[in-house]
């Protein structure tokens, strides 16, 4: 069913567009790819609150890693 599939794809594309826009409004700092990953995880039943924590946590991790890296480099 290529028709249905492409239709669905278009709809999904649209959904990502809309969600990305909302995320921009809300200053979520998510790019499309991350958004897609998140959407898929949530569609797979991941708790959104937990996911939000994860994203924040991972970001913090990154910052820390860099912060650690910085003095080392200095």
């Amino acid at each position: 069913m290529p028709d249905e599939r492409s239709e669905k794809q278009a709809a999904a594309q649209q959904a990502v567009d809309i969600l990305h826009e909302i995320s921009t409004i809300l200053n979520c700092h998510l790019d499309r790819r991350m958004l897609s990953i998140c959407i898929s995880m949530i569609e797979n039943g991941v708790n959104p609150e937990a996911l939000a924590t994860v994203v924040k946590e991972l970001r913090a991790e990154t910052q820390n890693g860099l912060a650690e890296a910085a003095p080392r480099r200095r």
């Binding site: 669905k8 979520c28 797979n44 924590t53």
Partner: protein
């Protein structure tokens, strides 16, 4: 997040679709789902967590694994079941948040939301929205953590990609900045992110505690009390962290670049309050009166800051000196007190500042860079900002203080008022206005005393009304001119001292009020009324409400003026006196004047030296008793007096006699010495006319009665002489009659009614009365032919003076003298006729006797020479009468000629009335004659010259 993804994915266009390739089915097994989730986690980690460039593969892997474990833990920890899985709930949360921060975006969101709802693809829309909501306003992961220096750019990236990322990052940063400005509520969640991990853990734990809604606090403001209780450490902690982050950011940056200064900023700050109060301190000593010595070791930026801070200090010193300096007057004192009040509020500012500095210095962390001053929150720069407004005020104050040094009284008020009204800066204007309220207080006190008590209580001569203190010479001079009166010369307005808060008009009114009150109190002896008035109507005057002030002053003005006028009318009978002046001095009371003249005539014909005051007063008394004047009030009659003017040789009584009406203290303000002299002038003129009339009528009567008896003659020449004499006499009687009629009725009566109309008007003030009276007198003298005939604007040469003297007054004087001389001649003729008659009678009798005695002896001889002698007198008399008659006629014609060209209608009419049947030829040619005679004005001369040239 600049990490190339390990997941195969070539273009972004396909990205959103990859999860669609594996559609979720309801019957998907648990393992299937978990593998997919772990895949996703994997890609998420690789997407978010970058690999440090110089890390080896193993450690990167380890990190990755760590992360994976962490995520797994989080995800598998029990979620909060209480969260409603309702799509509307999540969207409501977002909407509410957006409406608070950015309404336009909220609208856009609801559009997007409806579009999202209509899409068929997603099953867990609420969850996604909720995720976004949770992630909202998270800090841009691209931004470096504030304290840390810029992140090293990963060198392994492809250039294009990095550029794209940077671009994206910048945009995000901008957006982020924008919302940060708008959205204070977002700070909390944002601030929590870069916190140390131990705190972060706590936060996370806290966030995962069961409790549903309370973990969506959109902002602090909406936090309910129970939430505050639940997470006090969280909210306050984040607040502090946020502040700390801001300050620490700045101070760290400063610390890196700071150089140690000597003396340190903390020492400067410690000394600053003293400096601001104008006191010397160790670091900042005042070397001279107005010099502040700055330590030379400081770097230029600090020096310039200290320069700015030195300004208020120096200004304060100058001003406190000014306040201590002795003031020359009440207003000077009040301005000093007002400045002192302002200085006190400045000192309280300094005190607050000092408290701040003390607190900051005590909490100072000595080990921190720059003595930790940056963290304490009080720096020299801040002090500059805090003292900025005060410096403006001090500047204005010192400007005022400087300018006020050589100004007094009203000028001071004008100076400050100038600032408050004519300064464009509203702050300056408001400041000056505030100052003005204090400064004007003594002024209004003086004003109040002046307009309610009529007393000038102004020890330092600051008010705009001042007592006149002319020098002794001036005073004599004024007295001679008759300007000296308690009304006109006691006080005067000093225009330079009228403050600009009061208009000139208003000042004049104020001046009049006080002057009237003073006049009532001192000249009218009615201080009881003044005191009662000041008790009842005295009001506190102050600066500000000009309209009310004006209405009060208007009211005071009306009251005082009405009182003054009623006093003048009832107590001092001013109007009665004016009436009496008109009746007696201006000969309004005909019967009295006629009687007086009749009874005095015999007496006055004698030389002036033979006049005695007691006879005059006796005759005056007789005239009063015998006429209607006896019914006048004794108050008036008491003042009437007859006396002789200064004698000069050869005068007879007529020339010296004068009536006098004495007025005393308050009334002499109206009937001034000048006025009195005008009255006398008019009286003398009228008296002379009256006398001529009286003389002429006496002669006329004699002639008429004599015509039937003694004047009968057979001699045709004598008859002819008498005929022409009678004709001329009739002319003269007509002339005098017309002149009297004109002066009494056309001039005096009309001016009088004008005066009455003016002074009886409602709300007439004393000044207006004075003016009206002066105008009245001027009208009488001017129209009554007593004024100068020509205006004296032409250069005053002798010729002009001669011309000037040739005024109506002189002309009329000549005419009257001619008439008197004519009358004397007529009397001479009469006596001649009588003697002729008796001679003839005697001759007849002698003839008869001779006839009877028939003795023609020396009787005829004896008679003849006498008769011859008498006869010889007739031609001389004839000649004289003829000469005087023609003289009169010429002079009258000259007068008529002048009157015909008079601008005043009434005076022209006098000419017409005198010459009603055109018997005279008005002498238009007179001018030429005058010119040839050597008189004549420059204009006539000019025309004369023109004629000669022609």
């Amino acid at each position: 997040m600049t990490k190339k993804s390990k997941t195969p994915c070539s273009t972004t266009l396909f990205e959103p679709c990859w999860w669609l390739c594996e559609p979720i089915y309801e019957d998907a097994t648990m393992t299937d789902r978990s593998t997919r989730i772990s895949n996703a986690i994997d890609s998420l980690i690789t997407h978010i967590v970058p690999t440090a460039p110089n890390e080896d593969e193993a450690s990167a892997q380890a990190r990755h694994n760590n992360c994976f474990e962490l995520v797994k833990n989080i995800l598998e920890s029990p979620g909060s079941p209480s969260i409603a899985s309702d799509v509307n709930h999540a969207s409501d949360l977002i909407k509410r948040k957006l409406i608070q921060t950015n309404p336009s975006q909220a609208l856009r969101f609801s559009n997007l939301y409806t579009r999202l709802l209509s899409l068929p693809v997603l099953n867990q829309k609420w969850a996604i929205l909720y995720l976004l909501y949770q992630l909202s306003d998270s800090p841009d992961p691209n931004e470096p953590q504030p304290i840390s220096p810029a992140r090293p750019s990963p060198s392994s990236h492809s250039v294009a990609r990095e550029a794209a990322q940077r671009q994206q990052g910048k945009e995000r940063a901008e957006r982020h900045d924008r919302t940060e400005r708008l959205d204070r509520s977002g700070r909390q969640s944002k601030a929590s992110t870069p916190a140390p991990s131990s705190q972060q853990d706590e936060v996370i734990k806290d966030a995962f505690a069961p409790g549903g809604l309370r973990r969506f606090p959109p902002d602090n403001a909406r936090q309910g009390p129970e939430e505050e209780k639940a997470s006090p450490s969280q909210s306050s902690g984040t607040e502090i962290r946020k502040d700390a982050r801001n300050v620490s950011l700045k101070s760290t940056l400063l610390a890196v670049n700071s150089v140690e200064i000597e003396p340190p900023e903390s020492a400067l700050l410690r000394d600053l309050p003293f400096t601001l109060q104008g006191l010397s301190s160790t670091t900042l000593p005042f070397s001279k009166e107005n010099t502040l010595k700055l330590p030379p070791t400081l770097p230029p930026p600090i020096i310039s800051l200290l320069h700015t801070l030195a300004e208020p200090s120096l200004l304060y010193r100058g001003l406190s000196d000014f306040v201590k300096s002795p003031a020359g007057g009440l207003l000077g004192q009040s301005i000093r007190s007002a400045i002192n009040t302002e200085l006190r509020s400045y000192l309280s500012l300094v005190a607050t500042l000092e408290a701040q500095i003390r607190r900051a210095l005590s909490s100072l962390d000595e080990s921190a860079p720059r003595g930790g001053i940056g963290k304490a929150g009080v720096t020299l720069k801040r002090c500059v900002v805090w003292t900025r407004e005060a410096t403006m005020g001090l500047r204005l104050l010192s400007l005022i203080a400087e300018e006020s040094k050589n100004k007094r009284g009203g000028q001071l008020i004008s100076l400050i008022h100038g600032f408050s009204t004519a300064h464009g800066d509203p702050i300056v204007a408001a400041f000056a206005e505030r100052l003005l309220a204090h400064v004007t207080r003594p002024f209004y006190e003086i004003l109040r005393r002046w307009i309610y008590d009529g007393e000038l209580q102004d020890p330092f001569l600051e008010f705009f009304v001042k007592e006149q203190r002319p020098s002794e010479d001036d005073r004599k001079d004024m007295k001679a001119k008759g300007l000296m009166s308690s009304w006109n010369s006691k006080y005067e307005v000093d225009d330079a001292m009228v403050p600009s808060i009061i208009t000139a008009d208003f000042a004049q009114k104020v001046f009049l009020i006080g002057k009237s009150l003073n006049f009532i109190r001192h000249s009218c002896n009615d201080s009881a009324w003044v005191e009662a008035y000041s008790k009842t109507s005295s009001k506190e005057l102050r600066y500000g409400d000009t309209a009310t002030l004006e209405s009060w002053i208007d009211e005071a003005y009306k009251t005082t003026m009405a009182r003054l006028m009623s006093l003048m009318d009832t107590k001092f009978h001013l109007f009665d006196h004016l009436q009496a002046m008109k009746n007696y001095i201006l000969l309004g009371q005909g019967d009295f004047i006629a009687l007086l003249m009749e009874s005095l005539a015999g007496n006055l014909d004698r030389p002036a030296g033979a006049q005695y005051r007691h006879t005059l007063t006796a005759q005056l008394e007789h005239a009063i008793r015998g006429s209607n004047a006896q019914y006048d009030s004794p108050e008036v009659l008491r003042r009437l007096d007859a006396r002789m003017l200064q004698l000069s040789h050869g005068d007879i009584g007529w020339d010296c006699f004068t009536l006098e009406y004495k007025v005393d203290s308050p009334v002499d303000v109206v009937i001034t010495e000048w006025g009195n002299r005008q009255y006398l002038k008019v009286f003398n003129f009228l008296w002379r006319i009256k006398r001529v009339e009286f003389a002429l009528s006496q002669t006329w009567r004699k002639c008429m009665t004599g015509a039937r008896g003694v004047l009968q003659s057979t001699d045709p020449t004598v008859l002819q002489t008498w005929k022409s004499t009678r004709g001329t006499l009739a002319e003269m009687v007509h002339f005098v009659g017309q002149l009297q009629y004109y002066i009494l009725f056309e001039v005096i009566e009309s001016s009088w009614s004008e005066l009455q109309r003016n002074i009886r008007r409602e709300g007439c003030t004393l000044d207006e009365l004075l003016q009206a009276h002066t105008a009245y007198l001027q009208a009488i003298t001017q129209k009554g032919l007593l004024g100068a005939r020509r205006k004296q604007h032409s250069p005053s040469t002798d010729l002009d003076n001669a011309e000037d003297r040739n005024s109506y007054m002189v002309q009329l004087g000549e005419l009257l003298r001619t008439m008197l001389a004519y009358r004397d001649s007529v009397d001479g003729l009469y006596s001649w006729s009588v003697s002729d008659f008796t001679a003839r009678q005697e001759a007849d009798a002698a003839e008869l006797l001779r006839h009877h005695n028939r003795s023609p002896d020396g009787g005829g001889d004896l008679h003849d020479p006498f008769a011859k002698q008498v006869k010889s007198e007739l031609p001389a008399l004839q000649e004289r009468l003829r000469l005087l008659g023609s003289n009169f006629r010429t002079r009258l014609q000259i007068l008529l000629g002048d009157l015909a060209y008079q601008p005043d209608v009434d005076m022209r009419f006098l000419g017409v009335a005198m010459n009603f049947n055109d018997v005279y030829q008005p002498a238009v040619k007179r001018r030429n004659k005058a010119a040839t005679a050597g008189g004549g004005t420059a204009g006539e001369k000019g025309s004369e010259k023109g004629k000669e040239k022609g």
